[in-house]
């Protein structure tokens, strides 16, 4: 190898080195830019979340007062003018009040739904046997459950957020109780079946059921499959249940037939199940 060859090699080596340094510098700059962009987007998202929080706060406070005023004055007029109003006028005043109250319930439902996404998620071991019995007892004590007969199988424990799961069972059992309230002998059965990829929980009732063609609408906010005059409610209960299942990484679905009851199924991912619940199989 001549001296010239060596010098040329050395030059090439130096060039390669410089190129590599330049690439590294560009990469570093790109990384920095990416990090900055992520930070910016995170800040934007945080601001949006805060804005939404403030919005629901304003909704909860500011919309309630005028609604109460509408309902209140309509009622006062009915009360003070009793016997002096034309029957139809009294009926219409009653409708004003009724609709104000209904809007109030819708706002409450919407708020409890949006509050879910903001709620802290504290994962721990939750004793479902106890929790489900507590919820059923609460429904009975408050008179909501009427003469419903509950059958509750053993379910073991899951890993999840106790408060959210409590709300979840409250919605599902409450839903089952409501829509079976007109059955001759209302019955609600909660339990679990073992499938190939883990336990599937279910809540089954012998109530009015639903048409599977509308199953997709069951879990939407404000979606109702029955008239409010038949079954009171705002149409957020099952939307809340779905949101809670999703926050646990699980899923929920339903099967039913008109007048033949409904069954709600839900499953949680494997990491939500302790050894205990598997042993139940």
């Amino acid at each position: 190898m001549t001296h010239n060859d060596l010098a040329s090699l050395l030059q090439q080596l130096e060039q390669a080195h410089a190129q590599r340094a330049a690439v590294e510098e560009r990469l570093r700059a790109a990384n920095e830019q990416l990090e900055q962009r992520v930070a910016e987007r995170t800040a934007e998202l945080t601001a949006t979340v805060r804005e939404l929080e403030n919005f629901s706060y304003t909704v909860s406070h500011d919309l309630r007062a005028p609604l109460r005023a509408i309902d209140g004055y309509a009622n006062i007029v009915i009360e003070d003018e009793r016997g002096k109003l034309a029957p139809d006028s009294e009926r219409m005043l009653g409708q004003i009040g009724e609709n104000a109250r209904r809007l109030g319930r819708l706002i409450d439902g919407l708020l409890s739904f949006t509050r879910l996404s903001r709620a802290d998620f504290n994962r721990g071991e939750v004793d479902l046997d106890r929790l489900v019995l507590e919820v059923a007892a609460e429904l009975q004590e408050s008179g909501v459950a009427g003469n419903t007969r509950f059958e509750i199988d053993r379910m073991g424990t899951v890993w999840g957020d106790r408060e959210l799961l409590r709300n979840f069972w409250m919605q599902l059992l409450g839903n089952a109780v409501k829509f079976s309230s007109r059955a001759g002998r209302p019955r609600v059965h909660a339990g679990l079946r073992i499938a190939a990829d883990g336990p599937i929980f279910f809540v089954e009732d012998n109530g009015v059921g639903f048409d599977m063609r509308f199953a997709g609408k069951l879990f939407g906010v404000f979606q109702r499959l029955h008239h409010e005059s038949d079954f009171e409610g705002t149409g957020v209960g099952l939307a809340i249940a779905r949101r809670i299942a999703e926050r646990h990484g699980g899923r929920i679905w339903a099967e039913g037939r008109p007048d033949e009851g409904a069954t709600f199924y839900f499953s949680f991912p494997r990491e939500c199940h302790g050894d205990d619940s598997i042993k139940l199989a």
């Binding site: 706060y57 909860s60 406070h61 500011d62 309630r64 007062a65 609604l67 109460r68 005023a69 309902d71 209140g72 004055y73 309509a74 009622n75 006062i76 009040g97 104000a100 109250r101 109030g104 319930r105 706002i107 409450d108 708020l111 509050r115």
Partner: protein, 154 residues
């Protein structure tokens, strides 16, 4: 009772900026069996003036204390939480029972109120009948059931 004249003893101080809610609350309170004497102020600054006998109430007898203060949270000038903190951190007013009566169900409002020493937290029902019932129950509890610190000495 008119704001400018309530120099005599009262049972309930109602702190409420919404004139409709104030009208409903006073109507419901007065129709109940306890028929409490109610005074109404529409902002936090006036509530503090009344309870600390300052401003337009500088000549008021400080020994005449309401049996309960019904306090809205969202108020002009001085907000309800601030009024609550001032009342509960002063030995002269600490014992006066304060009930927050608000439209807010927000967990942070509930937490902050209890942390500041509120005696009770009540959410105003939207439903007018439920609102009347709620005010009636508040009146019978704070006028009848509850033993008030006011006038209980000796």
């Amino acid at each position: 009772m008119d704001t400018s004249t309530f120099s005599e003893a009262i049972d309930v101080l109602l702190v409420e900026d919404n004139p409709n809610d104030a009208e409903f609350a006073m109507r419901a309170l007065r129709r109940g069996p306890t028929a409490p004497r109610v005074a109404h102020v529409e902002d936090g600054a006036k509530a503090l003036d009344y309870l600390f006998c300052t401003g337009e109430w500088a000549a008021r007898d400080p020994d005449m204390v309401p049996k309960v203060v019904l306090l809205d949270l969202k108020l002009p000038k001085v907000d309800g939480l601030e009024v609550l903190r001032r009342l509960k951190s002063d030995p002269r007013t600490r014992d006066i029972p304060v009930v927050v009566l608000t439209s807010s169900k927000e967990p942070r409002d509930i937490k902050q109120s209890y942390a500041s020493g509120v005696n009770s937290y009540v959410v105003k029902p939207v439903n007018f009948e439920a609102f009347n019932r709620c005010l009636g129950e508040l009146a019978s509890y704070w006028m009848g059931v509850n033993q008030s610190p006011v006038g209980s000495g000796g």
